[in-house]
């Protein structure tokens, strides 16, 4: 165990910080022209992606031709922390950069890499992930959207739901059923679908908070035709690729959550000091204790995350990953709840605009917003099943 990074890692960080200082997008342009969806790339974001790509800072762990510099895991960790500390987003299209491009690089043909993956990396295209369906929820095995081969085209019919960024993305990395007779997990394929293909309709889903800037959407596919070569990987091999896609960068995903919670915690500490004078001494002690409990969770999340990361780097098992998903999303929710409960009637105020979502603290609206994480990408309930069955070896029902 050790607290400090070694000299080589610190030198790597210094190099990045120096580059970042010179090349980062300006706070004003980010403020003036915010990303309003998880697949929306304003001009500054496109320029920023390209600059990162060219300098080998986009995905440091990858080869230079893919926007990286063959950095190690610890270096990547340090890089991600530095970006967060600087308040600069790595991308405004996280699914594109984190899941879709890597999957195409892993399973796609060279022409698909050229046409879809590289443009996403260079900030020229954005992508959305078409997985959830109305009756399938977290359960990919119940997928119903069908792709039927008709000559040299796939004909797609069905409906996706909870598709982040669908209204802004250039193409969709779409999971569909290509063999209606295969059972469950078999018979699923992945097809690349440009969002402007005729027959494809996006209907934004307003959320219970910030209904003015919806990010989620329903995607309806009515005889949508795409070339046969838009199939990624092998036909009916989607389930295996899905597990690959979603596992991408999993070892680092905890960091985003931890950093986000640390930011919220810093906000809560400031906020708390603002409430304190109006409270009675007894209330003050209770409020302080609520905040301290969350402070402990924040520290625990980081400590847990680092332990898991250390095991991952050593090539070992990191059961902390399943834990981190449930724990970090619930901590984030609890933090928002506590922030609102001590905020008096100010907790009833709402903000507008997507860019304000993360910044706002102390509102019940912000509390509701956190349920995005406890519900999506494997709900807290599913994470607990995973921990109990896969990590602790309890029998399936």
């Amino acid at each position: 165990m050790k607290l400090q990074f070694d000299d080589a890692t610190l030198a790597f960080r210094d190099e990045f910080l120096a580059w970042l200082e010179k090349n980062r997008p300006a706070a004003e342009e980010m403020e003036t022209d915010p990303a309003v969806s998880s697949a929306h790339a304003p001009d500054w974001a496109r320029r920023w992606a390209r600059r990162m790509f060219d300098a080998g800072w986009l995905v440091p762990g990858w080869a230079p031709e893919l926007g990286g510099r063959n950095a190690g895991a610890v270096e990547t960790l340090v890089y991600l922390e530095a970006l967060t500390e600087a308040g600069v987003p790595r991308t405004t299209n996280p699914q594109g950069l984190g899941i879709i491009s890597p999957s195409i690089l892993d399973y796609g043909r060279p022409d698909q890499v050229e046409e879809f993956a590289m443009p996403v990396l260079r900030g020229e295209l954005t992508a959305c992930l078409g997985m959830s369906e109305p009756d399938a929820g977290s359960d990919l095995a119940n997928l119903k959207t069908a792709a039927v081969r008709d000559g040299d085209e796939w004909v797609l019919n069905g409906q996706k739901v909870w598709t982040s960024g669908a209204a802004y993305a250039d193409f969709c990395f779409l999971f569909c059923r290509t063999d209606p007779d295969a059972r469950k997990h078999r018979g699923i394929s992945i097809i690349l679908v440009p969002m402007d293909t005729p027959g494809l309709e996006v209907k934004p889903l307003k959320e219970i908070v910030h209904p003015d800037t919806p990010d989620l959407a329903e995607v309806f596919l009515d005889d949508v035709r795409v070339p046969i070569e838009n199939l990624v990987g092998e036909e009916n091999d989607g389930w295996r690729m899905a597990n690959g896609s979603l596992a991408h960068e999993r070892s680092m995903v905890w960091l985003d959550s931890v950093l986000a919670i640390e930011r919220s915690m810093a906000g809560l500490l400031d906020h708390a000091k603002a409430w304190m004078p109006a409270l009675t001494p007894a209330e003050r002690a209770l409020a302080a204790d609520d905040v301290v409990r969350l402070y402990i969770e924040t520290k625990a999340l980081r400590a847990l995350g680092y332990r898991g990361f250390a095991r991952f780097v050593k090539g070992g098992n990191a059961p902390e990953q399943a834990l981190m998903k449930a724990y970090s999303s619930e901590t984030s929710r609890d933090l928002a709840r506590i922030a609102s409960e001590w905020n008096g009637t100010d907790a009833l105020h709402t903000t507008s605009g997507r860019s304000n979502r993360r910044r706002a603290i102390g509102g019940i609206e912000g509390y509701f917003n956190t349920f995005g994480s406890t519900i999506s990408a494997g709900s807290s309930e599913i994470q607990r099943n995973i921990i109990a069955e896969r990590v602790l070896g309890l029998p399936r029902e």
Binding site: N142, L205, I208, T345, F368, F371
Partner: protein
């Protein structure tokens, strides 16, 4: 001791419920969210039904029901997530007018020609100690200056019952101020159907309801207690609706080819939610009957009720939303009306933490200076 509704009370509650299902549908609540509809048509229907006169004494032309019935109405209004005008008028303005023996105003309430609310909270604090608004006397006339926030149904009130401090004596009294003498700033925020407003009084002419003297604090408590219990039960009504919707959903929604309500972990959570709703209901009813019978413990029960309602909203909003999954997260579903109503109640009429600290003082658990 009998904490179950009498047959007559149960019938009244059922009547409130079935009428509200008709005249206060989710579509009407949605109009408050999406079209800034204040629920005026609902108010007119409620007036026709005589509901505003429910708690008005017979001497002032009302039906003269006790507080239990007012509380049941508040519960059903919460179950409907109704626009808040009637809640504020019956559970906040009416007790103030009754305490002040203001039969003239009460008569107007009974006929539906006067809507109003209590304006107490300042800077989000619901205790008299925090009242900085001043009331100044010139001869027989009073004027009030200050700002009140989070005023329930402030957007539709004709009359405000305003807590204000006489700077000469330091005592807080209660004053009636017409809407036309105040500046009302709407704050729709999280739950537009609460019709919240901040209200600014600038040397506003005020009519004395409760004189700022040594008795005033105890007299104002006789208004804030029913107001708090009604709001608590209102929240619990919203929570019970969340509970029923979530339970119904769990009986039909399938995951992994099973109805999700058959998963044991969810069953246990439903048992816990059920306990939380029943527990809060029982404490609120206990509080309501204590106030109705003017029991010596009535000063304690409002704290119990609001603290229990706080626990209830915390669990029900959280698990209700979580167990609905993505569906509950969408604007087009109605669920969020009740989620927001339940949570918004937490910061009105004192948070549960505030009520618990007040209870600690009553129980002698705070040293001098701990406040």
């Amino acid at each position: 001791m009998d904490l179950e509704l009498s047959d007559e009370q149960a019938e009244l509650r059922d009547n409130f419920r079935s009428v509200l299902e008709d005249c206060c549908s989710p579509a009407l609540v949605r109009a408050a969210y999406e079209e800034s509809d204040d629920g005026d048509s609902l108010w007119r229907q409620q007036v026709e039904l005589g509901w505003p006169s429910l708690a008005v004494p017979e001497t002032a032309g009302g039906l003269g029901y006790g507080f239990v019935e007012t509380a049941l109405l508040a519960e059903e209004l919460g179950r409907a997530a109704a626009p808040a005008t009637l809640l504020a008028t019956t559970s906040q303005l009416t007790p103030a007018l009754v305490e002040a023996d203001d039969d003239e105003a009460l008569a107007r309430v009974a006929t539906g020609s006067l809507r109003g609310t209590l304006a107490l909270s300042e800077k989000g604090r619901f205790d008299l100690d925090s009242v900085a608004t001043t009331a100044r006397r010139q001869g027989e006339r009073w004027t009030v200056t200050g700002t009140k926030d989070g005023v329930l149904a402030g957007a539709t009130a004709d009359l405000f019952a305003v807590a204000a401090r006489d700077p000469e004596t330091g005592f807080v009294g209660l004053f009636a101020i017409e809407q036309t003498d105040a500046k009302v700033e709407r704050r729709p925020g999280l739950d537009p159907a609460l019709l919240l407003a901040d209200v600014v009084f600038t040397s506003s002419p005020a009519r004395l309801l409760i004189a700022p003297d040594a008795d005033a604090e105890a007299r104002i408590a006789r208004i804030t207690e029913p107001a708090t219990v009604a709001l608590a039960l209102h929240m619990v009504g919203a929570c019970r609706n969340i509970f029923e919707q979530t339970l119904a959903y769990a009986k039909i929604r399938k995951q992994y080819d099973r109805v999700i309500g058959s998963f044991q972990a969810l069953k246990h959570r439903f048992a816990d939610m059920y306990l939380e709703v029943e527990r809060a209901t029982a404490l609120c009813y206990f509080a309501a009957v204590s106030i109705a019978e003017d029991d010596p413990e009535r000063g304690e029960v409002a704290h119990l009720a609001k603290a229990a309602a706080g626990d209830c909203q915390r669990l029900l909003a959280e698990d209700g939303l979580q167990l609905h999954g993505g569906l509950g997260f969408t604007w087009e579903q109605d669920l969020h009306f009740w989620l927001k109503r339940a949570k918004a109640g937490e910061v009105l009429c004192g948070t549960s933490a505030w009520h618990r600290t007040a209870l600690a003082r009553r129980l002698g658990l705070a040293s001098e200076g701990d406040a």
